[in-house]
């Protein structure tokens, strides 16, 4: 059973950690963990896509306003709301069946959720860093930034996903 109230507080905590902690940690230019897409990715897969899209819009706007992204966070987050069923299918082979009695994310193993989140984070980080640099002058550096940041994001996201699996989904 998806616990909406608990999920709201988890989402709030993720955003606070991103804005006040992760965004202020300066490790390296090419190493930037971004966990806020988790709020969109861990929404029930059975939700109607329009609600997921509007949630992504709200999260993106919050990030843009808080971090001065001027649309960068929103434009890189919105595609995830539309693409996540496909990402789920490509990474785990699972499809969303609206007739199912229990939620898809709750039926999946933690490892499978991790795989799905990793795939989605890779898509998000690719979009984000490509939009941020708007240049392909140093492609290797861009690829390194995307891969390293995705890896670090997954390290930070792992305990959050475990918490989600045990307390919410």
């Amino acid at each position: 059973m998806f616990k909406q109230f608990t999920y709201f507080w988890l989402a709030f905590a993720i955003l606070v950690v991103q804005i006040f902690l992760l965004d202020n940690i300066s490790i390296a230019m090419w190493l930037r963990p971004m966990i806020f897409p988790l709020v969109v990715l861990l929404l029930p897969m059975e939700w109607r896509m329009v609600w997921t899209l509007l949630s992504a819009l709200a999260i993106g706007l919050t990030m843009d306003l808080a971090l001065g992204g001027s649309g960068l966070y929103t434009s890189s987050l919105l595609p995830l709301a539309v693409l996540r069923p496909w990402i789920m299918y490509l990474t785990t082979g699972r499809t969303v069946e609206h007739s199912d009695q229990s939620a898809l994310l709750s039926r999946m193993l933690t490892k499978q959720v991790m795989l799905y989140v990793a795939g989605a984070m890779l898509v998000h980080h690719t979009l984000f860093f490509m939009l941020e640099t708007l240049s392909f002058a140093s492609p290797m550096r861009l690829v390194a930034t995307i891969l390293c940041s995705t890896l670090l994001t997954m390290v930070v996201s792992a305990p959050i996903i475990q918490l989600y699996k045990s307390k919410i989904a």
């Binding site: 899209l53 649309g71 434009s75 919105l78 708007l134």
Partner: protein, 277 residues
């Protein structure tokens, strides 16, 4: 009708996504001059290719008028060629050929281009033409009509297409001078009518009158490029200079062919100006 509603119901999420993503990207593009230039250059390449295909059909029907313009242009170029030939001939003291050395126009190179898309109803209008980096087009090159009337200058260049900031852009500003007496002024567009611009800082000694022509005075373009004609002039609030309402010589909404002008010495002039600043 029922099927249409069903179809829209099925794809409305995708339409909503495209709308929201478009707004977000537009907002991001306008956040800084860098993102604006970069995104403009990328969209120019994509949009240019699409518009090029669409306008290709329409262009076929305007071929007669284009031919007339081209013929006129060929005649003008023939004259230029004659002058080039005269310049390459041995110089004799007192010969009339020596007079050509006073004309700096030989530093300019012309690239013909065709308008792919343009807007005239916004505050910041742009024009896309079918010549790009591959054709030797660079940023800051001036753009004129085949009749030597001002259009604007190149602000962004893709491989096969270029974006031009025309005079009908509130960010546009160019130096001008009154053809009759040579007094300098500055020309800009305030965004109201696509047929009128404003000439400011005209000296009180210039005595501008209705009908006087104003031509370009800029390192981007050769002399004799017409901007427009004064409709009315009045003193500014401080009574220190004249401000004139200028009827533009170019009708941008019917623009079809343009000439992109390269000043071979522009880089040198720009470096010198930067050094002074």
């Amino acid at each position: 009708m029922h099927r249409l509603i069903e179809f829209i119901k099925r794809i409305y999420v995708v339409l909503l996504f495209i709308l929201l993503e478009g707004i977000a990207l537009m907002q991001y593009a306008q956040s800084s001059p860098y993102t604006e230039a970069k995104i403009l250059s990328r969209t120019t390449a994509v949009g240019g290719a699409v518009s090029g295909a669409v306008t290709g059909v329409g262009h076929f029907f305007t071929l007669p008028s284009e031919n007339r313009k081209l013929t006129a242009r060929i005649a003008e170029l023939e004259q230029t060629l004659e002058r080039e030939r005269a310049l390459s001939a041995p110089v004799v003291e007192g010969d009339e050929v020596a007079a050509y050395f006073d004309d700096g126009d030989l530093n300019y190179r012309y690239y013909p281009a065709r308008v792919i898309s343009l807007t005239t109803n916004r505050e910041r209008n742009y024009i896309v033409v079918d010549r790009g980096e591959e054709d030797g087009i660079k940023r800051n090159m001036g753009v004129i009509t085949p009749n030597r009337e001002l259009v604007g200058y190149v602000v962004s260049v893709a491989e096969h297409y270029s974006a031009i900031m025309p005079i009908l852009n509130t960010k546009f500003n160019i130096g001008g001078r009154l053809t009759d007496n040579g007094y300098a002024c500055s020309v800009r567009w305030r965004g109201a009518s696509p047929h009128y611009a404003e000439a400011i800082d005209i000296s009180t000694y210039a005595e501008p009158k209705a009908g006087m022509a104003i031509e370009v005075s800029s390192e981007r373009l050769p002399s004799g490029v017409l901007i427009g004609y004064i409709e009315e002039a009045e003193h500014n609030a401080a009574q220190t200079a004249y401000t004139a309402k200028l009827r533009l010589a170019t009708n941008l909404s019917t623009l079809d062919n343009v000439l992109i002008v390269e000043n071979a010495h522009y880089g040198e002039i720009e470096a010198l100006t930067e050094e002074l600043e």
